[in-house]
Amino acid sequence: VIDRIFAVSGHVSTALMAYGVAALWLHPDSWWAAAVVYAALLVLMLTPVTRVIVACTSYLRAGDRVSALLTAGILVVIAVSGWAAWNR
C-alpha cells in the first residue's frame, strides 16, 4: 500500500509539474501557476525523506533495532547538515 501511495504521489507530482509549466508559459505572471509548480517540487523533494521515515517505522515494527537506528541516524544527519548549510 505504501509503495502504491509513493507511486501515485510521483504521478501526481509529475502531472502537477507539467500542468504548472504549461500554465506558466501561457500566463507568466500568474501566481497560481507558480504555486502549482512549487507545490509539485516540494512533493518531489520531500519524497526521499518520507521514504526514510516510513522505512524507520517499518524497522521499528519488525523489531530490527539496528536498521531503525541507522535510518534515524540518517534523518538526524540530514537535519544537521541542512541546518549547517543554511547558516553557512
Binding site: 509503495d3 509513493f6 507511486a7 510521483g10 509529475t14 509539474m17 507539467a18 504548472g20 509549466v21 506558466l24 508559459w25 507558480a34 509548480v37 512549487y38 509539485a40 517540487l41 516540494l42 518531489l44 523533494m45 520531500l46 519524497t47 526521499p48 525523506v49 521514504r51 526514510v52 522505512a55 536498521s67 541507522l70 535510518t71 541516524g73 540518517i74 544527519v77 540530514i78 537535519a79 544537521v80 547538515s81 541542512g82 549547517a84 548549510a85 543554511w86
Partner: protein
C-alpha cells in the same frame, strides 16, 4: 541571477535532464556531473542555479527509480542506509578538509581515481556477483530476481571495511566537488565488495535522492531554484529514467559495466578539463 526561462532553454534543459535520467536508470548515477557543466557552460545558467536544478533532478531520478517495480526488488535498504550514514559523515569531514586541500590537487586525484575505476570496471566486466538463492546472504547481503537468467539469486557483501571507506570518501568528494556519491560507490561496490551491478545501481539511485534533499530544500528556500527550469529538467528526467530502466532490464550486466566504464572515463576527462 537568471530570472526568465525561454522555451529553448527549457527544452535544452529537459533534454539534458532526460540524459541524466537515463544514466540514473541504467547505472544509478545522479547525472549531476554532466548536468552542471551543460547548464553552466552550454546554456549560460549561473552556477548556484545550475546546482539547484541538478540537485532537484538527482531527487527526481532517485524517486523515479526507487518507485519502479523493477528497481525496488533490487534495492538493499539496510546496506544503503549504513553506507548513507557514513557518506553523510564524510560530507561533514569534507567541510573541514576543504580548507586544507587545493582544488587543483583534489580534482587531479579524483580524475586519476575515476580513470583507474573505469579500467577496473572494464577489466572486471565479466565477473558476476550472484550466488544460488539457497546460499545464506549474511547480514548485509540479499536476494533479487535476476532478469537475464530468469531466476532469484543471492549475493553476499564482502570487504565491508572497504565499502565503508569508499562511502566516507564519496561523502568528502560530494562536499568538495559538488558531486553525488554514486559515481564513486557503484564501481567499488560492484568490483570489490560482491554487490551485483543491479543492486549497486538501484541502491545508489535510492540513496542519492536522500543525500540531495537537504541541499535542494535550502536552494528552494533561498529562492535560487528557478521553478520553470527545474520543472523542465524534472520532466526530462522522468522520461529518461523510464527509458534507462527499461534498457537496463534488457541489457546483460557485461554491457552495463562497459557503459559504466566509458562514463567513468568521460567523468575523469571532464574533471581534467575543469582544472583551474
Amino acid at each position: 541571477v537568471l530570472t526568465d526561462v525561454s522555451l529553448s532553454l527549457a527544452l535544452a534543459t529537459a533534454t539534458a535532464g532526460a540524459l541524466a535520467g537515463a544514466l540514473g536508470g541504467m547505472l544509478g548515477l545522479g547525472g549531476g556531473v554532466f548536468l552542471v557543466p551543460v547548464l553552466v557552460q552550454g546554456l549560460g545558467v549561473p552556477m548556484p542555479q545550475a546546482v539547484a536544478v541538478s540537485l532537484t533532478t538527482v531527487i527526481a531520478t532517485s524517486n523515479a527509480i526507487s518507485g519502479s517495480a523493477e528497481a525496488r526488488s533490487a534495492i538493499n535498504l539496510r546496506l544503503g542506509f549504513l553506507l548513507e550514514l557514513i557518506t553523510a559523515a564524510g560530507g561533514l569531514v569534507g567541510t573541514v578538509v576543504a580548507f586544507m586541500v587545493s582544488d587543483r590537487s583534489l580534482m587531479l586525484t579524483f580524475s586519476a581515481v575515476m580513470a583507474s575505476m573505469s579500467a577496473l570496471t572494464f577489466l572486471r566486466r565479466d565477473m558476476r556477483n550472484v550466488l544460488p538463492a539457497s546460499v545464506d546472504p549474511g547480514a548485509w547481503g540479499g536476494r533479487f530476481f535476476d532478469e537475464p537468467t530468469g531466476v532469484v539469486v543471492a549475493y553476499r557483501v564482502r570487504r565491508m571495511p572497504l565499502a565503508l571507506a569508499t562511502s566516507l570518501v564519496a561523502g568528502v568528494l560530494s562536499t568538495l566537488l559538488g558531486l553525488g556519491g554514486g559515481v564513486v560507490k557503484v564501481p567499488i561496490l560492484n568490483a570489490w565488495c560482491g554487490v551485483p551491478m543491479r543492486v549497486a545501481s538501484s541502491t545508489s539511485a535510492f540513496m542519492i535522492g536522500v543525500t540531495a534533499t537537504s541541499g535542494a530544500l535550502i536552494y528552494l528556500g533561498r529562492g535560487l531554484l528557478l521553478p520553470a527550469l527545474a520543472a523542465a529538467a524534472v520532466l526530462g528526467v522522468q522520461v529518461g529514467s523510464v527509458v534507462g530502466l527499461r534498457l537496463a532490464q534488457r541489457q546483460p550486466p557485461r554491457r552495463l559495466k562497459t557503459l559504466l566504464s566509458v562514463v567513468l572515463l568521460i567523468v575523469s576527462i571532464l574533471m581534467l578539463r575543469r582544472l583551474p
